[in-house]
Symmetry: C2
Subunit: 326 residues, 2 copies
């Protein structure tokens, strides 16, 4: 069976790390067909569209999409793409690796971020000269769907349960609904949960990240708190993510275009290759996914390494080392 993969490198180092991840995918014994498409600042400068219709269509019909990064147009690219694949959850592991400098080397978390609503579904208005508003949306159906996913995730990975993060002491109706719905589903499924306020989570995860494992949260909370966890593990350079829908998925590094080093051939491909590992697992090849992850981990630990991790290897050299270890 052939899997159609949309490949959208985007801008900056996206154009360097995405081909690296494709190289790793090509080294697996899986039948992929790759279809490349444009998105981001560069194509916008040329055509006026940050996300050309062909690209959107491609993501909407491919079995899975691998995305690199986009510059100033990031929100115009990534938010519609998440919708194109109908992804309802953004899976963001934040793991520190042995030998890599980290503020909190014991960090090993995974965020399951609601991916369709909250302020991201926000309708905005200018009500008067003075007043602007945004309507934040929380639905029971989206909360329930996320919770079912979280329960499957906990069961499949033999986790002890999950933590619900919210701000229901202030957003009583919306986050209260999120919290109650998620807790209720988990309860029905026999999955253990605890809950913590978003602000308290921010303090506690710095002081002792080991007290958390799987973290389920609304959209913006997931955005900010997973980036906080990225800070604890040493930066965005190593964090993959998966936008998962019922049939399709979109896989992207958490980092951006890194304009300071773009074009030099020294971008760290680890986050994108780890995202490709999530893609492979999403398609059902658990062993191949694990093999890619182990090859990346071994390369992080033993080298070669790119300059952001204190090494002097190029993107190509690191990619070749990962392929060698497969």
């Amino acid at each position: 069976m052939t899997h159609d993969i949309a490949v959208i490198p985007g801008d900056g180092i996206g154009t360097e790390v995405t081909p690296a991840a494709v190289e790793v995918l090509e080294a697996l014994e899986i039948d992929f067909e790759f279809h490349e498409a444009d998105a981001g600042d560069a194509v916008k400068a040329e055509t006026g569209e940050a996300l050309p219709e062909e690209t959107d269509d491609l993501a909407a019909s491919a079995d899975a999409t691998l995305f690199g990064a986009a510059g100033d147009t990031a929100a115009d690219v990534i938010l519609p793409l998440r919708e194109a694949v109908d992804s309802f959850v953004n899976v963001r592991p934040a793991t520190a690796y042995p030998g890599i400098d980290a503020v909190r080397p014991e960090t090993d978390l995974v965020f399951l971020r609601e991916n369709t609503e909250g302020v991201y579904a926000g309708h905005e208005d200018r009500l008067s000269e003075d007043v602007s508003t945004l309507t934040r949306v929380v639905t029971e159906s989206a909360s329930r769907r996320l919770a079912e996913f979280a329960c499957d995730y906990v069961e499949d990975g033999a986790h002890d349960g999950f933590t619900i993060v919210h701000k229901a002491n202030v957003m009583r109706e919306t986050d209260g609904r999120f919290r109650d719905t998620v807790a209720e589903v988990a309860d029905e499924r026999g999955v253990a949960t605890d809950e913590v306020l978003m602000d308290a989570f921010a303090t506690r995860v710095c002081l002792d990240p080991e007290q958390f494992d799987v973290v389920v949260c609304p959209n913006l909370a997931g955005d900010v708190l997973s980036d906080l966890a990225a800070g604890l593990v040493g930066g965005l350079g190593l964090l993959p993510s998966a936008n998962v829908g019922p049939e399709r998925g979109l896989f992207e590094p958490v980092h951006g275009t890194a304009p300071d080093i773009a074009g030099e051939g020294i971008a760290n491909p680890a986050a994108t290759i780890l995202s490709a590992a999530m893609l492979v697992e999403f398609l059902g090849y658990d062993e191949a996914g694990a093999a890619v992850r182990e090859a990346v981990e071994a390369t992080l630990e033993e080298g070669p390494r790119t300059p952001d991790l204190g090494g002097d290897a190029s993107t190509d050299e690191v990619t070749a080392a990962i392929v060698d270890r497969l």
Copy 2:
């Protein structure tokens, strides 16, 4: 001139650290009259009201209010009290102290948090069986008032400028308005600013807190990011805050009721005493405020210390040591 100070200890360790701060205030050569009032879980259990009208009235008429902490009713107490004193900015310094264990000992930040709107002014609705909404509010007038305060703060403290934190790539109208208004005021005033997205701030402040100094942000961003900074300096136990209005102010530690140690006489009074120092400065006594802060800092460095900081002193002993150093 006599200053009327409302004193609202609240629940848990609030009832231990608030009297400690009053003791320090009494040791200053300033003419205070203290008026104590109830708020929180305990008075709610008795009377059905977490914030009795007398307490609200007292805060609304006192020159300044010192608040301790409240338990489950925290939001029902603190949000109306912030309104009662008409506070439009929440000033939250997050500073690591020599000799105190911190994830990031070089942290020295101050958050100027918008204190009246955002999701906190949110009107919530249940639109249908499935859909709940919250209307987030951002006004030009509140953004402008905060920006003027931030400019004064930067000028008075000889800071280089401030950083505007926002999520305007998603909340284009509301946070876009916040960012543009704040930047425009600063520009008119000749105060330098830069800007960073809320999620990027979370990563960057972990990796290198020294790149930031004064941080201006919307209400919920300030809540979460200042708690994140609390994690970097070693916990909530040392963080004071000032809710500042045009005429009155409300001063409170960032920590909560600490039910695990409440009643044992070992709560760390530093955050509340540092909040009292902010109160004293708010009333115009800059030297007395600085003296209190220095006495707290010397005591943190040289002891005695409460158990949360590895010592074995009581709240009373630490308070006495601070008073002695005045």
